[in-house]
């Protein structure tokens, strides 16, 4: 019988993803050759999952805004100076060590995001939650996560309708954008808070109805949401392959030259 995609065992893939990300995190700074090799391996796995390397690379840019945190290191570290000069009225210097730390963090996060992207592409979130429960994730979190995943689209739909209603009732004069109308900032925040409060009350009422329905069907205690239906028979092999991949990444990081 064909297995439903939401019931697939993702334990092997989860272990592989976590070990790959740990291996990438443990790579020394400036191991650009290793980064390139690891990315090639990740891009190959992505292609096997239906992602073109370009699409995968673009998805990896999601972490780009966070690189701002590491950006100042390029200019404030005084070691391994590679350029120094005036830019307008400001004196600037570029540190090789700072640049290496910045590039290392940016590339590592870029590749790690792609690993996560492939995981979610291959396994739906329900399947991952079920696999996490099988990996001894506590019941309250597994059931809570299962319910969150199940009802998130419904509540997002409610939120969209509320936002549409707010928008429909906020007439704007011709030539004015919506961002420039609608009272003071505290007033806008208050309206947004009211919407959030109203949405919570709907979620609260829905929780009551879910509980009643579960009780009516004879449920007691855990709802066992997010359960794993059919365990993977090749789990051990997958875990061994994941450990092998981790060892290969670590060895490449130690052996290949750094810049």
């Amino acid at each position: 019988m064909l297995q439903r995609s939401s019931q697939r065992d993702a334990r092997g893939a989860l272990v592989a993803a976590l070990l790959s990300i740990l291996g990438i995190a443990l790579l020394p700074a400036g191991s650009y050759f290793t980064y390139a090799l690891v990315w090639l391996a990740v891009a190959t796995a992505g292609a096997a999952s239906g992602y073109t390397p370009l699409t995968l690379a673009r998805r990896g840019l999601i972490a780009l805004p966070f690189t701002l945190a590491a950006l100042p290191l390029i200019f404030i570290r005084g070691d391994e100076l590679i350029w120094s000069g005036a830019l307008g009225s400001a004196q600037l210097s570029i540190s090789g060590a700072g640049l290496r730390i910045f590039l290392t963090a940016a590339v590592k996060s870029w590749i790690s995001v792609q690993v996560g992207t492939i995981l979610v592409r291959r396994y739906p979130i329900e399947s991952i939650v079920g696999s996490l429960r099988a990996l001894k994730l506590p019941d309250a979190i597994a059931t809570g996560a299962g319910l969150t995943v199940r009802y998130v689209e419904l509540l997002r739909g409610e939120a969209s309708r509320m936002l549409r209603a707010r928008s429909a009732r906020s007439a704007s004069p011709v030539g004015e954008t919506r961002e420039r109308i609608g009272g003071t900032i505290p007033w806008r925040a208050k309206v947004t808070g009211n919407l959030a409060g109203a949405l919570f009350l709907r979620a609260y009422a829905r929780a009551g109805r879910v509980e009643e329905a579960a009780t009516a069907r004879g449920a007691s205690g855990s709802l066992s949401l997010g359960s794993l239906i059919q365990p993977d028979t090749r789990l051990l092999l997958k875990v061994l392959l994941a450990i092998g991949a981790f060892a290969a990444i670590t060895a490449a990081g130690a052996l290949l030259p750094r810049i």
């Binding site: 966070f66 997002r156 949405l199």
Partner: protein, 316 residues
């Protein structure tokens, strides 16, 4: 304007990420135990927690225009913690942050422990305890509760931003002396939006569903000793965070004295304990923050001594 709080993988040193995983697992483990102790009520609490997780996701869609194309939106930690209780709220936020990392790659998997620690433990658990502490200290009236939620919501964003920067600093990915003021400066505005939305949401629920609001608010005012302890913690936290923004420029009198040339006529103090708010052995912002906390404790000590003196006079 989006908060920069979901640390991606690659920014934290593995030892920092793993240590925060352990710390998070311990706190979330305690939270789960506390929820499990509710007996049969735990099952319905779990259902409410699941739906609240979906609510937080959906509520993060709500934004309001601020200016120049930027908008404020909800993070929801203190809101969830206040409505569900601090322990359940922190588990809900841990679940939401986990799903955000898995589903949207918003934050890394190895960094997930750190992200839950910053937003779920410090932001939600800590924030809710601060909210309740303020409300209890001020007598649990509705206004006091709303004030507590507002202050705690702002502090939760600031604390999460502060901890994120410190962890990046520990990992060698940022310079704390530059990163901390930049992060706190940006998140001070984001926190303001969070505070306004959280207060409005709680206020709406208090009017529309007073029974849910009554369930959320602590039942009885805290004892005087707990009030003092809560006030002390809040003041120390506020002072130590505010001290990070302290200007290094001279104050008004010093500036005038320098400009008019009579600064040299000033005489040195007969003794110096913490000259210029610095503590021996602690450089930079850490020393200033510690000096702020010591100042709070000194003021408290003086007040306690004066109070005892007044009580002794009254009884005699």
């Amino acid at each position: 304007m989006r908060p920069l709080l979901h640390i991606p993988d690659g920014f934290l040193a593995p030892q920092v990420a793993l240590a925060l995983w352990v710390a998070t697992a311990v706190v979330i483990g305690i939270a789960l135990r506390r929820i499990g102790q509710r007996g049969p009520a735990a099952a319905s609490q779990t259902i409410l927690m699941g739906l609240s997780g979906a609510f937080i996701f959906a509520a993060q869609m709500f934004n309001f225009p601020v200016a120049a194309g930027t908008s404020g939106h909800l993070l929801g930690g203190v809101l969830a913690g206040f409505l569900l209780g601090p322990w359940a709220g922190s588990v809900v936020m841990a679940t939401v942050i986990g799903i955000q990392a898995l589903l949207f790659q918003d934050g890394g998997l190895l960094a997930l422990g750190a992200n839950i620690f910053n937003m779920g433990v410090i932001g939600t658990l800590g924030g809710t305890l601060v909210a309740r502490g303020i409300a209890a200290t001020l007598g649990n009236a509705r206004r006091a509760t709303l004030l507590g939620v507002g202050v705690a919501a702002w502090l939760s964003v600031m604390a999460a931003a502060g901890f994120t920067t410190l962890q990046l600093g520990l990992s060698g990915t940022t310079d704390v002396s530059i990163g901390l003021p930049a992060m706190l400066g940006t998140h001070a505005l984001i926190g303001l939006g969070e505070a306004l939305i959280s207060v409005s949401a709680i206020s709406f629920i208090a009017v529309s569903a007073p029974e849910i609001f009554a369930k959320s608010a602590p039942a009885a005012p805290a004892s005087p000793r707990r009030r003092v302890a809560a006030g002390l913690i809040i003041t120390a936290a506020t002072v130590s965070i505010a001290s990070l923004f302290a200007s290094t420029s001279p104050d008004g009198l010093e500036k005038v004295a320098t400009d008019l040339g009579f600064i040299n006529t000033s005489q040195a103090a007969p003794f110096e304990l913490f000259a210029d708010y610095s503590i021996p052995g602690f450089d930079g912002v850490a020393g200033t923050a510690l000096a702020g906390v010591i100042g709070v404790l000194a003021v408290l000590l003086v007040i306690v001594l004066l109070n005892r003196l007044a009580s002794a006079r009254k009884s005699s």
